[in-house]
């Protein structure tokens, strides 16, 4: 034992600890530098390159990219054939989001309010399970399920519900020859594939609503419906918005599901895929790729203005 109240550093570990203790920000910097570099250079860098490409245009005769800034490519997005692709994709993303909200809510509510112990574990497993298998496998499985010769048609015949199925398929625009070649089919598969991303944040936000708040609402005279509208939904809104960011943006960018299930009309993702590949029109592909980003920014701005984040 020495008489000193402190002892000199023993080795490298102590010396490093000394440095970090004196400069706590240094440790933070070391921890954040790698992810920030990744995000800054690789992600934002490529996003910037994309943005840059979208301001170039393509020479109609030579098919070469003209490296001069112009808004010509963006104007091209407004051409009916291109604009239809945008409208179709945004409408599908919105429909998928609404479908996910409606289906996810009761599940999330049950999990947040009633599930305990092993039922809670079963819920997490059930919500996550679809994410474990390959995306392509799930989509192809759905193609078979929805096909004209598939289990749904067969089951509908079996229980004598063919008329209902045919009536649904007869709806103009969203109907079609069979579920697997209609927008309804595309929508079903999108909802199935993205719903875990809606359930989990929704459940997290519902879990933070204390029971006493629901009791207070009832105590003050609110019916169950009024409590749902005035207390539960507003408080669950941040979770719904978080979930919708996933379902909305994932649908906006997907190019595989609409290619396998649905009509052969293009969605934004497919347009980008074709334009940058076979067509070799990188500027237009880039301009198309900017669309989902702009749509998401507008969506979030509107959500913020409507007070969706007030309960955060």
């Amino acid at each position: 034992m020495t008489d000193l109240a402190t002892h000199p550093p023993r080795g490298l570990g102590d010396r490093l600890t000394d440095i970090f203790w004196r400069r706590p920000n240094l440790l933070l910097l070391l921890l954040l530098a790698p992810p920030l570099l990744w995000l800054g250079v690789v992600y934002l860098g490529s996003l910037f390159a994309l943005l840059l490409q979208s301001f170039y245009s393509i020479d109609e005769f030579s098919g070469l990219v003209v490296h001069e800034f112009t808004l010509k490519t963006y104007l091209e997005l407004l051409r009916p054939s291109n604009f239809d692709v945008i409208l179709r994709t945004v409408a599908m993303a919105a429909a998928v989001t609404v479908g996910c909200v409606i289906i996810a809510f009761p599940i999330a509510y049950y999990a947040a309010r009633y599930a305990r112990g092993k039922w809670k574990a079963a819920f997490y497993l059930g919500a996550m399970l679809p994410l474990w298998s390959s995306y392509l496998v799930k989509v192809y499985a759905w193609k078979l399920i929805l096909a004209k010769e598939g289990i749904i048609t067969w089951a509908a015949e079996g229980i004598g519900a063919s008329a209902i199925l045919n009536a649904i398929l007869a709806i103009p625009v969203i109907g079609g020859n069979s579920l697997s070649t209609s927008y309804i089919g595309t929508w079903i598969v999108f909802v199935y594939v993205w719903i875990p991303y809606m359930i989990l944040p929704m459940q997290a936000s519902l879990e933070r609503v204390p029971v006493s708040m629901l009791e207070a609402s009832s105590d003050l005279g609110a019916s169950a419906g009024q409590t749902l509208r005035s207390v539960i939904l507003p408080l669950a809104l941040p979770g719904v918005i978080a979930g919708s960011i996933f379902t909305f943006s994932l649908t906006l960018g997907d190019y595989i599901i609409p290619q396998i299930v649905g009509t052969s009309r293009l969605f934004i993702g497919q347009a980008v895929y074709t334009l940058q590949g076979t067509a070799g029109n990188i500027p237009l592909a880039a301009a198309f790729a900017v669309v989902p980003i702009v749509v998401m920014l507008v969506y979030l701005a509107v959500a913020k203005r409507l007070g969706a984040f007030d309960a955060l």
Binding site: E215, L220, S230
Partner: protein, 332 residues
């Protein structure tokens, strides 16, 4: 006169747990009624039975004479101030207070006017536009109070209303609640585990133990004449005297209670004892005395301010004030 709330043989069992077990109670209209007891004694369940968040397993709860067993909380003219206040975080203070009117379909202008009146009543006029998150604990408590009163309930229930406040604020709120209750004339029923709070605020106190009511009475009755040993122990810090000790002090030949402040030191006569440890309390000194020749003859007494505590081990003599010893039911 009909009672504001009446419990007739009410029980509430959760599986094998008897949270409330055969309670009979009658709460007079316009009274300030306290349900006092340790946690798990059934007092909060009783409150929830009145508000309708729990239904009795057996028995009947009558609110102003009406059997309300099958009426859900939203159709009872009873409002609650929740322990955690349960203010809606996404609404401002005014909308929180106006909530009860909003769900009843009162138009915006009148319900806001009424909410502002209620806020004035609890002295928060200037806070209508704030969010609950921007208020202090005491202010939130007042908002919860205003929100519960806006519907003009026939009975106001308060679940540990002052539990989350610091001591000073708690005392101020005690006076304020009491004054408010007198002014409005509404029956207040509040649950607390703090005997000081129950005794100082209530007109009537029910002491709960293990799902049953151990004693009901005015604060003075509860404090001075505890019916059972549990009440004597729980309310304040009474001396519980075994029969032989009671006899020495000239009391009955039964288990009895004796308040420490009703015991004094005397210079001649009295019961012989030896001074034990002393604890300075500010408003007096608590002294533990051991009676001569008895293993469990420990008595605590409060010496008035200015009287020095005798050194431990000194021989002293004690005397109980006349009428201070009360026999209790049951015992050991």
């Amino acid at each position: 006169m009909t009672s504001a709330v009446e419990f007739r043989g009410v029980s509430r069992h959760f599986g094998s747990v008897r949270a409330v077990d055969g309670v009979n109670l009658s709460i007079a209209e316009g009274s300030f009624f306290a349900m006092l007891g340790p946690s798990g004694s059934g007092k909060t369940t009783c409150l929830r039975l009145i508000s309708g968040f729990e239904a009795p397993t057996s028995g009947e709860i009558r609110i102003f004479g009406e059997n309300s067993g099958n009426v859900p909380p939203n159709r009872r003219n009873v409002n609650t101030v929740f322990q955690d206040y349960a203010l809606f975080p996404h609404m401002n203070v005014r909308d929180n207070v106006a909530y009860g009117l909003m769900v009843r379909g009162v138009d915006k202008r009148s319900r806001h006017a009424r909410a502002d009146e209620m806020l004035a009543l609890v002295k928060l006029d200037a806070y209508g536009d704030r969010k609950p998150g921007q208020l202090s604990g005491g202010q939130r408590q007042r908002v919860a109070l205003a929100r519960a009163l806006v519907n003009e309930p026939k009975v106001l229930l308060l679940d540990e209303p002052l539990g989350a406040l610091d001591l000073k604020l708690r005392e101020a709120m005690q006076d304020e609640l009491k004054a408010l209750q007198r002014r409005l004339g509404i029956t207040f029923v509040f649950v607390t585990h703090d005997q000081g709070e129950a005794l100082s605020m209530a007109d009537q106190v029910a002491v709960f133990a293990n799902g049953k009511v151990a004693q009901v009475g005015s604060p003075a009755e509860i404090y001075e004449r505890p019916a059972t040993r549990f009440v004597a122990d729980f309310v304040g810090s009474s001396n519980v005297l075994p029969p032989e000790v009671s006899r020495r002090f000239g009391g009955p030949d039964a288990w009895s209670s004796l308040r420490p402040e009703q015991v004094r030191l005397v210079t001649s006569g009295g019961v012989a004892a030896v001074a034990g440890t002393a604890r300075y309390l500010g408003a007096g000194t608590r002294l533990i005395a051991h009676l001569d020749g008895l293993a469990d003859g420990e008595v605590s007494l409060i010496l008035p301010p200015g009287v020095a505590a005798p050194a431990p081990g000194t021989a002293i003599a004690l005397e109980a004030m006349p009428g201070a010893i009360h026999a209790m039911a049951g015992t050991a």
